[in-house]
Amino acid sequence: MERVPVLKIGDILLVSIQLDMSDQTAVQLQDDLAERIVSTGCHGVIIDITALDIVDSFVGRMLSTIASISKVLDAETVVVGMRPAVAITLVELGLSLNGIRTALNVERGMELIAAARPDEYDDGEGGDEDADDETTDTR
């Protein structure tokens, strides 16, 4: 069975899913992540699904479960990089991705996590009060 690598970058665990996962691999990733959240004390998890050309109900449920587990372990999960065709298909499939935060890319995902914990990621600009508010690009 193949395994999805979990990388630690600062206070964030980054998972970039680069293979067509079997169900077993997906469940293993769920277990690995829970383990790593506890062993590293990280407060953020970013799951990059840019390379996934489908998300079916099994993977969707895995993403929801990871989000729930990490919440219980005091970490935020953000799923980033969903392809447009995948989003369209997910909605038609009827999957709601309960409790999952999403962002368009890794950078925005990191901003979301930082905004959710303003005390720990004080970058001198003051904390963003409303973490749910997708900020617009002001360039």
């Binding site: 067509d20 079916d56 969707g60 447009p84 065709a85 369209i88 038609e92 499939l93 009827g94």
Partner: protein, 139 residues
């Protein structure tokens, strides 16, 4: 029943393990690309195939998928037959209801897959196994 003429031989894939579900997805993707389905339609069909292949494995106890490129004179498409000799589905209406499951999943596999394809036929009954045929046509 689904109409349309087979273009060449259907390709069969046994479904006996998690890895076989991955192989079904890859086979369906290859045929969908060759049949010139749009990216969104490819994604929908591969997602539906993933759900149905998993059902064949989990509920049917394993079986086969047969993937064929088809042509109805106006449009090209991809047809997939999932067959197993498992226990069959006793209450089809219930099984096709969103959220209903006997397997601990989300209950979106069958109902969601039906929404993602253009034609969906199912032949099943207690003790008769299950045969599901789905077709996705190019736009």
């Amino acid at each position: 029943m689904t109409t349309g003429v087979d273009l060449g031989h259907p390709q069969a894939q046994a479904i006996q393990s998690d890895e076989d579900v991955v192989r079904v997805r890859q086979l369906v993707r290859t045929v969908a690309v060759a049949s010139k389905l749009s990216l969104v339609d490819q994604t929908k069909l591969v997602t539906a195939a993933s759900e149905l292949a998993r059902n064949t494995l989990v509920y049917g106890g394993g079986g086969t998928a047969e993937v064929a490129a088809v042509d109805n004179g106006r449009r090209r498409g991809v047809r997939i037959l999932f067959a197993d000799d498992g226990p069959g589905i006793a209450d089809l209406d219930l099984a096709l209801t969103d959220g209903y499951t006997t397997g601990g999943g989300l209950g979106l596999g069958l109902s969601g897959a039906r929404r993602l394809v253009d034609d969906f036929t199912i032949d099943t009954g207690p003790g008769r196994g299950t045969r599901i045929t789905v077709t996705k046509w190019s736009r």
